[in-house]
């Protein structure tokens, strides 16, 4: 049971981590908590459902579920990336330089808008995600791993590695880090902060959308309100790991997933969410910057 619970925790952690990255990257550069990020995740999941429904080609799903899932995830990433870009353009860019409270409130508004937009345009009912793998999975004595869980366990770490590489090794990554450190100085050095911010939004949204498609295929159901809870958990993960810190978001996601799985498994599932938040409070009391957060000197 312990191993199974650990697997449950890691799978959950992978999802939280993927979404948390979007929060943390945007916060790192703009000091903005993008509350509409959970909604982007939801839109990603919806793109997955709609895309697979359109395709409709049953035989393709039965013969090549992995390819179908990859294409759906890619499509969702592109589409949600577009939404992220639009959100930044329409909701946040006009408020650049207006202080920190205004964009925050705009983010809340954008979240409510997107949720209701999807509800009105696509209906309030649950959408069923096509069953891609028909219960195929791995069975090792008492441990069961479904195909969708395997997909998450493979894709999420790969994406996180890819993102780390991008941020650490590429020119774009250097520009992103420079902008995060000091926006004004970076722009003086010839980096266009507007485009860096846009790229950050697109990257974060794409990761969240891929998480949405993977989660959709794991649970089989997508609805317009899933972004709220997922967003809240991922935000918690980002804070837990130290908001603004990319490895921190990944670590925070895994820690949160693990706490939830073990807490629900060994204490009681009734207060699953309570454990996560209790741990968050304890960590913030002991280390106010989060697990990997550094105490950054106040920017002047």
């Amino acid at each position: 049971m312990l191993i199974q619970q650990l697997i449950n925790g890691i799978v959950l952690g992978c999802v939280y981590a993927l979404i948390a990255l979007g929060y943390t990257m945007v916060y790192g550069i703009m000091q903005l908590i993008n509350f509409a990020h959970g909604e982007i995740y939801m839109i990603g999941a919806f793109v997955g459902v709609i895309g697979l429904g359109w395709w409709g080609a049953e035989w393709l799903i039965t013969t090549n579920p992995w390819i179908v899932l990859s294409v759906a995830a890619l499509g969702a990433a592109l589409f949600a990336g577009g939404w992220g870009l639009a959100l930044e353009r329409l909701a946040y860019r006009p408020l650049r330089g207006a202080g920190r409270l205004q964009p925050l409130i705009t983010a809340l508004g954008a979240s409510i808008f997107l949720q209701n937009f999807v509800m009105v345009s696509l209906g309030a009912r649950e959408k069923v995600f096509p069953d891609l793998f028909h219960g195929k999975g791995i069975q090792l004595s008492t441990i069961t791993l479904s195909a969708s869980q395997i997909a998450i366990l493979v894709v999420a770490p790969l994406l996180m590695l890819g993102l780390t590489f991008l941020v650490k090794r590429t020119k774009l990554g250097i520009a992103m880090r420079a902008t995060a450190q000091d926006l004004k100085m970076a722009s003086l050095c010839g980096i266009n902060p507007q485009s860096i911010i846009a790229v950050t939004f697109v990257l974060g949204s794409a990761l969240a959308a891929i998480a949405g498609v993977l989660v959709g295929s794991l649970y089989g159901v997508v609805s317009f309100y899933i972004g709220y809870q997922a967003g809240l958990k991922a935000f918690t993960a980002a804070v837990l790991g130290g908001i603004g810190n990319i490895p921190g978001a990944m670590l925070g996601g895994f820690v949160l997933g693990m706490i939830e799985a073990l807490g629900a498994g060994y204490i009681s599932s009734e207060y699953k969410d309570v454990y996560a938040f209790v741990v968050l409070i304890i960590i913030l009391l002991l280390k106010p910057g989060g697990l990997l957060g550094e105490r950054v000197a106040e920017k002047v």
Partner: protein, 366 residues
């Protein structure tokens, strides 16, 4: 000048709203149910049942020449919201309300209706407390969870000495049903696990892993179809082969859509099949022609609306209490059959039967 203009505009809007509310030459009734959110499908079914009944009355010429108007209220399956829409319904002068769906919404809202003398007939809230608090204006046309829990427990009797795991969603309905079920279990049956889950959650792998480790023969779930469907699916994914047993909150085609193949063989308690009741055939035909698939509470909502309108037709200017007395003292010929109410406001007969999923369809279990 501008300020005056704004004030005038404000007053016009105010008049417009208040005049729109009181209905004037209309008789206004309402339905209150979750029209958005997780249980939106149930709200949709309930509203359609009510609308169909009202339309039939209106084509017959209304009540004493007065047309009937329906107001819809969305409680979003949230008790706080339910209280606020109840307040709104009362202030808009409805004679009666068909609703709510969730017991946790019905119970707090019913206090307001009762105080204001507005009739409330719930088509779907099965928690005993809905009617057991001595409220005069509150009725239901469905059964109660103590009856339902007993039906569930009795169905396990033939299985002999077995182990049962109980999950519930902490709501008034879900936990109430789980507790009634537990109370009625025979001493042969051992409850190996009693756990709560969170409404709105999608991931139940942690609690189900725990279920797997205690190896129950039956997993009983007190709750609604969104979680019920996911639990069934994830249970099978984890390789748990226990019987899935649940109540009327899970009884819905949506449950099968969500759980997919995993739903096969699930046991669900619900009312006897409507297509075997001769009087319900007419309803089924009309409903299907107009709205398509009949939901589990469409018929209940239709009958509830007919009873409310029937009572109003008997005495148009009756007070709330008079209407309640008419409803209580009349033998109603409804589509489900004859409905008579007890002093409490429950139907005198409310049998539950066990259903099961066979080839993706809900059928009565033999």
């Amino acid at each position: 000048m501008r300020r005056f203009f704004l004030l005038a505009l404000f007053l016009i809007v105010l008049f417009w709203i208040s005049s729109g509310c009181k209905g004037g030459s209309h008789i206004v009734i309402g339905y209150a149910a979750p029209m958005t959110g997780e249980s939106a499908k149930m709200g949709d079914d309930i509203s359609k049942g009510v609308l169909l009944a009202v339309e039939e009355w209106n084509t017959k010429g209304g009540i004493h020449g007065k047309k009937i108007r329906v107001e819809g209220y969305d409680d979003r399956a949230d008790p706080k919201e339910a209280v606020s829409v109840a307040q709104r319904a009362i202030s808009q002068g409805v004679r009666g309300v068909i609703g709510h769906y969730n017991s946790s919404c019905t119970i707090p809202a019913s206090n307001l209706y009762d105080e204001a003398g507005v009739i409330m007939i719930t088509p779907a809230s099965t928690n005993p407390q809905v009617t057991s608090r001595g409220l005069k204006h509150i009725f239901r046309v469905c059964g109660r969870d103590d009856q339902q829990g007993k039906t569930m427990a009795d169905a396990l009797q033939p299985l002999g000495k077995i182990k049962v795991a109980i999950l519930h969603d902490k709501t008034t309905y879900g936990q109430g049903l789980a507790d009634e079920f537990r109370k009625h279990l025979s001493s042969d049956i051992q409850v190996v696990l009693y756990e709560a889950i969170q409404r709105g959650d999608k991931d139940f792998s942690a609690v189900l892993t725990k279920v797997k480790s205690v190896q129950p023969n039956v997993v009983m779930f007190g709750g609604l179809y969104p979680e019920g469907g996911l639990i069934t699916k994830q249970m099978r994914d984890l390789g748990i082969s226990s019987i899935f047993l649940s109540g009327d909150g899970t009884y819905d085609p949506e449950y099968i859509r969500i759980a997919g193949k995993a739903a096969e063989g699930a046991w669900l308690t619900y009312a006897p099949p409507a297509d075997e009741i001769p009087t319900a055939k007419e309803f089924l035909k009309n409903y299907q022609a107009k709205y398509g698939e009949v939901g589990p509470y469409s018929l209940f909502a239709y009958d509830a609306a007919n009873i409310l309108l029937g009572a109003i037709a008997k005495k148009v200017d009756a007070s709330g209490l008079e209407l309640a007395n008419i409803i209580r003292s009349t033998q109603w010929q409804a589509a489900m059959g004859t409905i008579e109410f007890t002093e409490q406001g429950d139907p005198k007969q409310a049998p539950y039967v066990m259903w099961t999923v066979e080839n993706g369809k809900l059928v009565v279990k033999k």
